[in-house]
Amino acid sequence: MNKESAYWIALAHLPRWGYLKTNKLIIKFFHEYKLSIEDFFQLSENDWETQYGLEYKEVEDLKKAKLELVNNAFLAETLYNEGYELIPITSPLYPKTLKDNLKAAHSPALLYVKGNKQIMQEKSIAIVGSRNASDKSLEFTDNIAKLASKEYKVVVSGFAKGVDKQALDSAIKYKGQSIIVLPQGIMTFSSGFKKYYKQIVDGDVLVLSTFPPKVPWKVELAMARNPIIYGLASEIYVAESSDKGGTWSGVIDGLRKNRKIYVRKPDANENIANNLLIQQGAIAVDFDGNPLTDYKPTLSEVNKSNVKSNVNEPNENYENKIFDLLKTGEYTVKEIIKKLQLTWSEKKLRDYLKSQKEVETINKKPLRFTMKNSTVKQISLFK
């Protein structure tokens, strides 16, 4: 039992304080001033303002949070009594993987967990994908979970339908270990605790939430949970993604944070956005999760990714035309679309151009593109 739980609950859920702001404050009192959170809350408002440089509004937020400490203590007591544990970011139990991956900017200050905490210190993978994934993707998920379980890697899953659920079920099937990352408060998961009772008792499942314990499921929470899944995993596998939605934005977010993300190479007949992710920098993998370093999707393959748009599907001719045009000078996407009468969205064209090694991006406003050195070779894409 962490005796400072009431304080951590207060600090972790300050309204409209982002993770970064909260974590900066924690770093200051915990690492710089070597204060416990309890001592920090005993400081005067004046100290908060002068030593910690907090603004009036922030001090007001903390004052309000301080008034709720007794109430939080009651909540914490209930949580501990029901077997939940609270793990603040300063605790040695806080998973290192999560902190390394998400850094101060994105790490939640407090985790609510139930189950075998040791699991959080193990090597881990996440398998993510659509809620309505194809059989093919589910088979891939099952296979990756099997391989991971064999290697004693923990499978992190978000407890959504489709790929998430498959990853969890498979890890359990192959006697592996899993972390369920909840899109809701941990006290609202009674049915799940009943369902996975045996696995939790046996130490094979840990349930984790970063939200106030009693909040019910919400779309926003599901979106906010995705980075936690990625953060908890040492490796990330994508079974299937469409070009929008949770998986898509999760992977894009991961790539932006320089994570290595493995994406299943889709079969030729699959209309999914996996290739688009590969083109964005994710690594293609085969059915067993082996990286296919040489694999580069063709533009037409990439375009299949754009499952939503069906008019004027761009094809190789367009690509040739684009490159031909770029050999002649610098152009903005708007100009390219106009000149070639493309039906692509500006964003799509911009993303595509950025992903092509042979295309140079000129950092002016608006962005302009041209061919590198104008010495144009036949690009591998067109082989």
Partner: protein
Amino acid sequence: MTQQEAEIILQRTFNLSHFYDEQWITIEKILKGERVLLIEKTGFGKSLCFQFPAILFKGTTVIFSPLIALMRDQVKKLNSLGISAKCVNSEQIPEENSQIISDAKAGEVKILYIAPERQENSEWIEATRQMNLSMVVVDEAHCISVWGHDFRPAFRRIINLVNLLPKGLPVLATTATATKRVETDIAQQMGGNLTIIRGNLMRDNFRLYVIKVNSEDDKLIWLGQNIEKLPGSGILYTGTRVDTEIYSKWFEFLKISSVGYNAGLDADSRIAIEAGLMQNKWKCIISTNALGMGIDKSDIRFIIHTQIPQSPIHYYQEIGRAGRDNQPAYIILFYNPEDKKLPEAFIEGGRPSISKYEKVIAAVKNEMLGERNLMRQTNLKQTQIRVIKADLIEQKIIREVTIGRSKMFEYITDAPPLNTKTFEELRASKTRDLEKMIEYAETTQSRMKYLCDYLGDSSTHSFTNCDNTGLNKIIVSINDEWRQRLQDFREDYFPVLEVKTKGTNLINGVAASYYGVSNVGIALHRSKYENGGDFPDFLLRLILKAYRKKFEQEKFDLILYVPPTKSGELVKNFAVKVSQVLKFPISHNLIKQRVTSEQKVFENSILKSDNVKDAFTYKNPQEIRGKTILLIDDIFDSGATIKEIGKYLTNLGALKIAPLVIARTVGGDLI
């Protein structure tokens, strides 16, 4: 705030002129947001130490107290002073509790008394998230410690809560009875930064006596001869619930005004009895010590124990309720060296066997279970399950969680193995305590000093308030007249079978005797299990006497008997004899339609009920319609069989079903 300033407010709000030193020291610390453990004797004025600061604080003060009667009294007193105080407890209807909780949420309650068990109630927990709380008080704090005399598992959560409360929130723990060991244990559990304030425990208005006796008869007769001679009204503590019944029937027989009080009574009866006590309605209340009677009556003039308590601390706690007005109070303990068998049995039998613990662990490990299903799966008594459950929670092997509205037990991941060493330590410690209690009975020194020393209050004061130090010894003298009266009483007293339930036409029945208390049990056992032939005739005489006493006014159309599982025709033959004497027709048509197991195989009433459910049928059902029925059996234990048959016969149209049995067991596992 200075003491003078505080005392001005004290005068205005509580009509009291000043604080005692230790009261003010405590209050000063509380006002500064500190934590205090206050150990003071009953009647010292501990309550003022939290009630006074509570009225100064902005928000609500929550008092966790296990004693409902005490809560009620204090609330009444505070309300009469114009202080808004309320209590939430299981004896009020849920709507009333809800209203009080929402009043507290709205900041309309200054002082809120609440039972520690309430911490398991989601409505309360929900409310605590919005309440403005200013102080937390843990009353009867000795209940925190397994080394005390009244450990209560519900307090574990209160301790956890105290440990989670933020710095600067005042916490006061109070008790009247804590040995050094309990004091240390409480302090350790409540965490650092705790000030301990301990007062002296001496009660010089007590008149302490120990009456040496050789039998139960001696006790009954001495009380019969002398209780009316004692001043005022008081309490008679007995060792068991059955004894409570026997003593109150004895007093009833002697026309001594008394009333029985035990944990099995419903709330209304308890409230009525407590109110009656306040008005001196009876000479004495006869109660088990199982129920901590937190009665705030200042003029209890005597407290008598018919049975030696488990330890001096139990004893001190129980006698502590006498003479709070500082007028003389008679404190009498009957002591028969034989009596230590009962507390010894409590100590020995207080814990189920290790294999039963293992059984519960295995069941919970495999599946999340509620209490009822756990009883089904393990075939253990509810009382045993509760002991095991409390121990396993204490050892962090299982925990109790709330799923929806029901409580379930779950196994804790990576739980340690069962630690039996602590059981042995506890047992050894309890054995030592019992020896100390016997030493109290046998000592030739000052009894008050003995108790004070035991409680860690090493006073040098010389005491002259016991039968070793200035008072005359009480000697029991018995004559034939009293022997005869006791004999008459015994032949006139029959235990009641409480089976009356809503939805059936069962009425409460009667037994000829208790099973283990007389030679009746031995006779039954010989016939049933040692091929001793039909039940002997003295049982017939006895049961007919019981019948006449209870059912003199009743007429029955039909006699039925419970069909046997194993012991052949014994009950049938017996019932035939009863029918011949009473001249009611007997029917043999009540039969079993499926094989059942013997009820005694099952340890708890849930399995007993399962065993006999839908087991009976009647060959010629229209015979039953509109009839009044006398239902005969040999032994009445949980009552599951009688209730099942009663339900069945009611459905067939029986107007009244009255059970009549030879013996009733003691301590059935009733839910």
